[in-house]
């Protein structure tokens, strides 16, 4: 059975046991189910399976995230990325769409161009816009020596234009220097970015060189990194050459290849994998908002700056202001004289078209405006200056009454709330006021005059009235008017005379009444009048009487110092003075003098050359009529008198000088021999009287040449025809020669210190009457003098005399024979003085 059973179902039994075993062993079962599960799940009903799995999967995911979130992220990454990308893409698409929408109506040239491009490429218009707005290109790269600013190397992109790169390089470094200096920047730093319109200059500073890139368009930030890298590499490779750069760039030529990499940088060739779209989108959103915020913030700032500027203007009150939807509103009050708010806009960069202002005019009470208005309305004359002093308006200067009253009216009007208008410092210069001023000056001048008392004075209807007392000896009030500019015609004075008891007036009166003598001096000492000196007793009596009269109220008159003196005594004194004066005179010897019965007698000796005793009387107060003098002449031996006498008697030539040395008379110089012998004779005479005349130093004048000339002159004769007083023409050469000789002689004599004179003696023959001959001879001499004078001989040197027939040259009888008398002539003699 067993066997049969074995035979019949043995295979099934073993199959069953394998299955039972399979079910019992979980591992085996799991393996078994695992192999069918996918299929089973696939065949299972979807809904049921999902429902069955959901909680399990949820729990499983939850646990996995709790344990390590990364795992799941890693797992899901490939799933999410496309998803996110897709969603961002959609978002951007939407943005583009709306951008598209907003750009649709813009008809700019670019807009049209880009629209065409979008149509051509099939891209959305917005994409094209974005694309273009991110274009940039590095056009130039400069490598600049840091210390000197000299250019090391420079590369340019194709088609890029530029000025002289050497100049640009220097200027850039000058700008850097300037910025560093001006803003006190640190060595290392400098300007890294400069923007000129479309161009940006980025500068990257290295230890020895600076790399400046000129970029057109909108470069991405990380371009900085790229440029910095290039600069680093250059510094690595060429550090030696850079450090010792001295303007010679030949060693650094290969740097250009490095720089070239920078220039090639532009939008199209930038990193391919870079998610341009995303960046673009973000930028697209951020930039406009940023710009918008910035612009509106900036224009708000500018507006606020403008508002505060307006508000700070004197004469402008800002009542309200607001900025709404890019429009600006401002309202308030302004003085017409204040600055124009519109014109204040210039320079603020606030667009005037967006400003809506509403200004009401008002009159500002700020002093400076009031000042302006007052200046306009009062039109002050040039002589008045208006100014603001501590919130008050002060007028200073001179003006006429009408202006002042207008100013006063204005001041009153102002007083309600406005600043004070002070016109007290304006002087009234209208004619009346001026005249009144002058009058007052005159009155006060009178008041200070001694001997004048002003009792009252007033001005009425342009006329001046004054009344008071005056001493007759005081200054005349009328004459004091001169120079005061007061019109005398308008002055009405009434003066009562009185006698002033002021000492000086009393003095004047005393002087007038007492006729004090010259020997008495009146003066004021401590309010007393004091007389001093000498006077005859009659005068003293009169003075005493006057003093007594004065004592009632007036100043004291003190005559105690006047000495009593009789006229006789005084005259005697004067006489003695005269006598002593005479005695002191050289050349006067007083022998006797006496005074008897009012007469004066004097006798003595006087040298004729001494002073005249009579003349000495003058000034001595001695009456000449009472002086009786007796003077004997004598020759004083006083050297002074001797010299005088010698000068008179010897008439020394100019070349000789007489002087007195220690009581001796010394004669020095040159003189003609004749004169010297005369001087020697005088010396001998004088020595007998004990006076020394020293002539030893006289030298003889050399007159040899003169003598020769004198000879020639003295032998010359001018001849005349009978009865004629004018010489014939044949005498002309003789006259010419004679004139020359005379001049020469006179000149030489003058040089020798003597004066030469020429005596022209006219002669006649014996025919005719003697008287006629005398006059003919004189006339001939006169004619010759005239002819010589005509030839240049000084007339004062020519003396004339007529000798008639008395000094014939030859005995007359011989001439009668020839009938041609040599006696009809003029002869010449020379005199030396």
């Amino acid at each position: 059975m067993e066997t049969l059973r074995q035979l019949l179902v043995g295979r099934e039994i073993s199959e069953l046991s394998r299955v039972a075993h399979l079910l019992d062993e979980p591992e085996q079962l799991a393996a078994a189910v695992g192999s069918v599960l996918p299929d089973a799940a696939a065949r299972a009903s979807h809904a049921q399976l999902g429902e069955a799995f959901a909680p399990i999967v949820e729990r499983a995911a939850q646990r996995s995230i709790q344990k390590n979130p990364r795992t799941l992220t890693d797992i899901l990454y490939p799933v999410f990325l496309p998803a996110i990308r897709k969603s961002i893409g959609e978002k951007i698409d939407q943005t583009f769409q709306s951008l598209n929408e907003s750009l649709r109506h813009i008809f700019t040239w670019h807009g049209l161009k880009w629209r065409f491009e979008a149509w051509r490429t099939g891209a959305s218009f917005s994409e094209v816009v974005l694309n273009h707005s991110l274009v940039y290109r590095v056009e130039h790269v400069f490598l600049i020596d840091r210390s000197s600013g000299l250019l090391i190397a420079h590369v340019t992109a194709e088609n890029a234009m530029s000025e002289d790169p050497q100049l640009i390089s220097s200027m850039l470094s000058a700008i850097q220097d300037f910025v560093r200096d001006s803003f006190n920047e640190k060595e290392q730093s400098g300007l890294d970015t400069i923007r000129f319109g479309e161009l940006r200059l980025w500068s990257e500073v290295g230890p020895f060189a600076t790399l400046v890139s000129v970029i057109r368009g909108n470069p991405p930030e990380e371009l900085h990194e790229i440029i910095r890298d290039v600069l680093l590499r250059i510094h690595d490779e060429y550090s030696q050459a850079l450090e010792h750069f001295d303007g010679d760039s030949s060693q650094l030529a290969s740097v250009e290849t490095q720089l070239q990499t920078c220039v090639e940088l532009k939008h199209e060739e930038s990193n391919e994998g870079f998610p341009w779209l995303v960046v673009a989108a973000v930028l697209l959103v951020l930039i406009p908002t940023g710009i918008w915020f910035f612009l509106s913030w900036q224009s708000g700032q500018r507006w606020q700056a403008y508002v505060s500027r307006v508000a700070s203007q004197p004469g402008i009150i800002v009542a309200e202001q607001t900025a709404r939807d890019g429009q600006f509103y401002i309202a308030g009050l302004r003085d017409p004289l204040a600055a124009d708010p519109q014109s204040l806009l210039s320079g603020t960069q606030v667009d005037p078209a967006r400003v809506h202002a509403n200004w009401q005019f008002y009159q500002s009470l700020e002093p400076e405006f009031v000042l302006k208005r007052l200046t306009a309305s009062l039109a002050p004359p040039d002589s008045v200056r208006l100014s603001v002093v501590k919130d008050r308006i002060v007028a200073e200067g001179e003006a006429n009454a009408t202006w002042i009253s207008r100013a006063q009216a204005a001041a009153q009007q102002l007083s309600a709330g406005g600043p004070v208008f002070d016109i007290s410092r304006v002087r009234d210069v209208s004619p009346e006021a001026r005249a009144a001023e002058h009058w007052q000056a005159y009155v006060s001048r009178l008041g200070t005059q001694p001997g004048i008392i002003v009792a009252e004075q007033k001005i009425r209807d342009g006329q001046f009235y004054i009344a008071g007392l005056r001493d007759p000896l005081a200054a005349d009030p009328q004459s004091l008017l001169s120079g005061t500019q007061v019109d005398p015609g308008r002055v009405h004075s009434q003066w009562q005379f009185y006698q002033s008891l002021e000492p000086e007036f009393v003095l004047k009166r005393l002087t007038a009444s007492l006729y004090p003598l010259k020997s008495v001096r009146l003066s004021i000492v401590d309010n007393r009048i004091v007389a001093e000196g000498e006077a005859p007793d009659t005068w003293i009596d009169r003075a005493r009487a006057a003093a007594r009269l004065l004592s009632a109220g007036g100043p004291e008159f003190d005559i105690s110092k006047v000495r009593d003196v009789s006229p006789e005594a005084r005259e005697a004194e004067h006489w003695q003075y005269y006598v002593s004066r005479l005695e002191a005179q050289p050349g006067i010897i007083v022998a006797q003098q006496t005074e008897r019965g009012g007469q004066f007698y004097i006798s003595g000796l006087r040298d004729p050359l001494a002073a005249d005793p009579k003349a000495l009387l003058s000034g001595t107060q001695v009456d000449p009529a009472r002086v009786h003098s007796q003077w004997q002449f004598f020759q004083s031996l006083d050297p002074k008198f001797v010299v005088k006498r010698l000068t008179a008697s010897l008439s020394p030539p100019k070349s000789v000088q007489l002087s007195i040395i220690q009581g001796r008379i010394l004669v020095v110089g040159e003189a003609p021999a004749g004169w010297i012998s005369r001087a020697q004779a005088a010396a001998e005479q004088l020595s007998a009287d004990g006076v020394v005349l020293d002539v030893s130093q006289l030298r003889e004048l050399n007159l040899a040449e003169l003598n020769h000339l004198r000879e020639a002159i003295q032998t010359t004769d001018i001849f005349f025809s009978s009865g004629r007083v004018v010489p014939g023409p044949e005498q002309s050469p003789v006259l010419d020669r004679l004139a020359d000789q005379l001049k020469e002689f006179a000149e030489n004599a003058r040089k020798a210190g003597v004066t030469a004179r020429f005596m022209l003696t006219g002669h006649s023959d014996t025919t005719g009457r003697e008287t006629a001959n005398a006059s003919i001879s004189a006339a001939r001499a006169e004619t010759v003098r005239a002819l010589l004078n005509k030839r240049g001989v000084a007339p004062e040197l020519l003396l004339v005399r007529g000798a008639g027939t008395f000094e014939p040259a030859v005995p007359e009888n011989e001439n009668s024979r020839t009938g041609n008398s040599t006696n009809r002539r003029v002869s010449v003699t020379v005199n030396l003085e």
Partner: protein
Amino acid sequence: MLQKKICMLGGFAVGKTSLVRRFVQSIFSETYLTTVGVKIDKKSVAFPDKTVDLILWDLAGEDDIGSFRVSYVRGATGLVLVVDGTRPATLAVALTLRERVEAEFGAMPFVLLFNKSDLADRWAIPDGEIDELRQLGWQIYLTSALSGAYVEDAFRQLASMVAK
């Protein structure tokens, strides 16, 4: 390419800008526009063996040494000291500026120009004084930006000095 930075130094209105203009552009103008900051010009000077590009930094003239921006001179290899021959005081200014620069950056080649030599009637520098400076071995020129006299010579001289 050989370049050298040259600085124009001197007092106010001595003619620095005019000299540069005469040298670079061969023109002269009477009108006086004071230089603010610095003005840069370039001129190549050719020698038989080489050519030097002079980068001329025309600095604002300062009579007041205190306000002189010495940093502009950094990296310069030569100086053009300019004196106005009609104003003796500008000589002292030029010499002081040079001292200041030397103190900061060390000695460097220079030429000394007594400018405005055309204004002979207002000339105020005695010959003796110039001779004394020449005794020191200095390169001195009596230039005129107006007539152009010695301007070229002076710059060429400096160029040859800095190109060595």
